[in-house]
């Protein structure tokens, strides 16, 4: 008897356990790749790397070999070490952009969803910001402020905030129509309690999904910005910078582009897979039928 009850609640979306989430195939695969990337970023100095900035004439443009795993670049830096250290930049940018833009976007979205005059003004500004393609907005800002990792994070965040606030705003507006929220408002639930008990828990799922997509987009945008010379400063070992450096000689030394490129694509793929999986698990409307 107990067993049947447990099994029926286990399949319900609200009875979702962490184990169900981790068992989802795309989350499992994406999560494993991400774990490797995170480990590489954290443990970079102990993974057989050398100083990513150190130059060595012997390594100059050397192809990959058992000695120099990923080869050397045109000024003699070790591509393997730079690729491993590059994970730090990409993951930091992705995580920071996702966290900051969700925090700011959530605040703006909640305000817009509950305060009418904020809605009118702020959402116009958000629409305007969304009309500027994200790379261009970032390029404009970085041109203004100068290249640094912090500025790159700031610039990408600015183009993601409107998307988050829109999502939160529309979630709040539709939640306000739902009977249980209407009832809570009618009986005079204090606003903080309303927010904490009814609104936030229901925005969490879509934000989690959106957050992983923002993570992926931020990693891509950082790399693209660095590639066109408007991203992290050239001496920073980021994947975008490495590809940018390598592009002039890529016909004779393709490994300069291939290794950071594969690492970049793999990371973005992993995060997108986690996002897809989460969407699958968390939102019954999107479930494969």
């Amino acid at each position: 008897m107990n067993a049947t009850v447990a099994s029926t609640t286990g399949s319900a979306p609200d009875g979702l356990s962490l184990r169900d989430v981790l068992r989802h195939p795309t989350i499992a695969i994406g999560g494993s790749i991400m774990l490797i990337m995170i480990a590489a970023a954290l443990l970079a100095p102990w993974l057989g790397t050398v100083d990513p900035q150190s130059l060595s004439g012997a390594r100059r443009l050397k192809p990959p070999s058992t000695d120099i795993w990923f080869g050397g670049d045109m000024v003699g830096r070790d591509v393997y070490s730079r690729t491993v250290y590059g994970a730090r930049i990409s993951l930091m940018v992705g995580l920071s952009v996702a966290a900051i833009s969700i925090t700011i976007g959530l605040t703006i979205g909640l305000l817009a969803g509950f305060v009418r005059w904020v809605d009118a003004i702020v959402m116009r500004v958000m629409d305007g910001l969304m009309a500027i393609p994200s790379i261009l907005l970032a390029v404009a800002l970085i041109a203004l402020t100068g290249a640094s990792v912090a500025n790159v994070i700031l610039a990408i965040t600015l183009s993601e905030v409107p998307r988050v606030s829109r999502l939160v705003r529309s979630t709040v507006l539709s939640l306000k129509e739902r009977p249980f929220v209407e009832a809570a408002i009618v009986v005079g639930t204090p606003f903080p309690a309303l927010l904490w008990r009814h609104i936030l828990p229901n925005t969490l799922a879509p934000l989690l999904v959106q957050g992983s997509y923002i993570f992926a987009a931020a990693v891509l945008t950082e790399a693209a910005l660095s590639f066109i010379g408007a991203g992290t400063p050239p001496e920073v070992p980021s994947w975008g910078n490495m590809i940018s450096d390598g592009r002039l000689v890529f016909q004779i030394a393709p490994h300069l582009v291939i290794f950071p490129g594969v690492a970049l694509a793999l990371t973005v793929l992993a995060v997108n897979m986690i996002g897809d999986g989460l969407r699958d698990v968390l939102d019954p409307n999107f479930r494969a039928r």
């Binding site: 116009r124 500004v125 629409d127 305007g128 910001l129 009309a131 500027i132 393609p133 994200s134 790379i135 261009l136 907005l137 390029v139 404009a140 800002l141 970085i142 041109a143 203004l144 100068g146 992926a216 891509l220 945008t221 790399a223 693209a224 590639f227 066109i228 010379g229 408007a230 590809i243 592009r247 890529f250 016909q251 393709p254 582009v257 490129g261 594969v262 970049l264 694509a265 973005v268 793929l269 997108n272 897979m273 897809d276 999107f286 494969a288 039928r289």
Partner: protein, 311 residues
């Protein structure tokens, strides 16, 4: 009414874009007067040039002047090329236009069949393969994909030129052969986006009662999918075509660098490297305008697909 409302709705958007873009120039660290005056100029000379250019006047005055200038097509002077920004952009417009057009054709030609087949075969192997490609497609950095394609088709197989651009006046094949790889590079990301939406929109339509009616009439698979379902799925698809065009614009900047195409994107990168703020400003403004305009056209096209949309 709908059309008018939609057209009016883009005005605040344009205003915000213009404000952001103007502020960029206003607050930019470089002093155009300094650049124009040259290295040996005295402070008095620089001050004179500042006055002549109107750089010493307040924010709002300059904003108004600048806005009127933009409305007349005057985007200011490039600090590096010594030409007007408008002239520069016009000169670089054609390669970018061709590139994005061909990319769009590739994207639709790839995405629609993929999305439709995935929806029809939902949950089965073709669906999984198609959606796997889609995730791969939009996880792939444009420039990495670009170099991969160059490596395969130009360096290894030698079928296509490595880089560069030839205008259509040089003949159809030289023109196309230079454009195929960049357009494919740019189209893949866009295609991945469209294919996903096509699948989910079609999936929803395929479950509607009227699709059962269509089957009960004895229609074949393709007339059901294309004749009956696609038109009903068109609005979400068109919407993502519009929104996704933002990724094409962003992609143009990168793709033109990879393939060395002298278009607007390449101009942007050159301007960034030289801190040529007026050019950056003009490009951001014009491309954002194009983006807004395309999305307006998409919104206005809804009536073509859904007779219930009233203008």
């Amino acid at each position: 009414m709908y059309a008018l409302r939609r057209v009016l709705a883009i005005i605040p958007v344009i205003v915000v874009v213009a404000l952001v873009v103007f502020s960029l120039l206003y607050f930019s660290p470089g002093d155009p007067a300094l650049v124009l005056a040259g290295e040996s100029a005295t402070p008095a000379e620089i001050e004179r040039i500042r006055g002549a250019l109107g750089l010493d006047r307040p924010y709002l005055v300059r904003l108004t002047e600048w806005s009127f200038g933009v409305l007349k097509g005057d985007f200011g002077q490039s600090m590096f090329f010594g030409r007007s920004v408008a002239e520069l952009m016009l000169q670089r417009a054609m390669p970018t236009l061709w590139l994005s057009l061909l990319a769009m054709v590739f994207a639709l030609a790839l995405a629609l069949p993929l999305g439709i087949i995935a929806a029809w075969q939902a949950g089965r192997a073709p669906d999984r393969v198609a959606m796997g490609f889609a995730v791969l497609g939009y996880s792939m950095p444009v420039f990495v994909l670009g170099y991969l394609l160059i490596f395969c088709f130009s360096v290894w197989l030698g079928w296509l030129p490595v880089q560069g651009y030839k205008p259509p006046s040089d003949g159809l094949w030289p023109f196309l052969s230079h454009l195929i790889l960049p357009a494919l590079t740019l189209g893949v990301v866009y295609a991945a986006l469209i294919a996903r939406i096509t699948r989910s929109a079609m999936l929803e339509v395929l479950q509607q009662d009227y699709m059962r009616t269509a089957r009960a009439k004895g229609l074949g698979l393709w007339s059901m999918l294309l004749g009956h379902a696609l038109k009903n799925a068109a609005i979400p698809i068109m919407t993502i075509v519009g929104i996704g065009f933002g990724s094409v614009i962003s992609g143009v900047v990168v793709t033109e660098t990879v393939f060395n195409i002298p278009g607007i994107g390449r101009l942007t990168v050159d301007a960034i490297l030289r801190r040529d703020y007026p050019v950056i400003q003009g490009v951001v403004l014009v491309l954002s305008g194009v983006y807004v305009l395309i999305n307006l056209l998409v919104d206005l096209s809804y009536g073509l697909f859904d007779p219930r949309v009233k203008y």
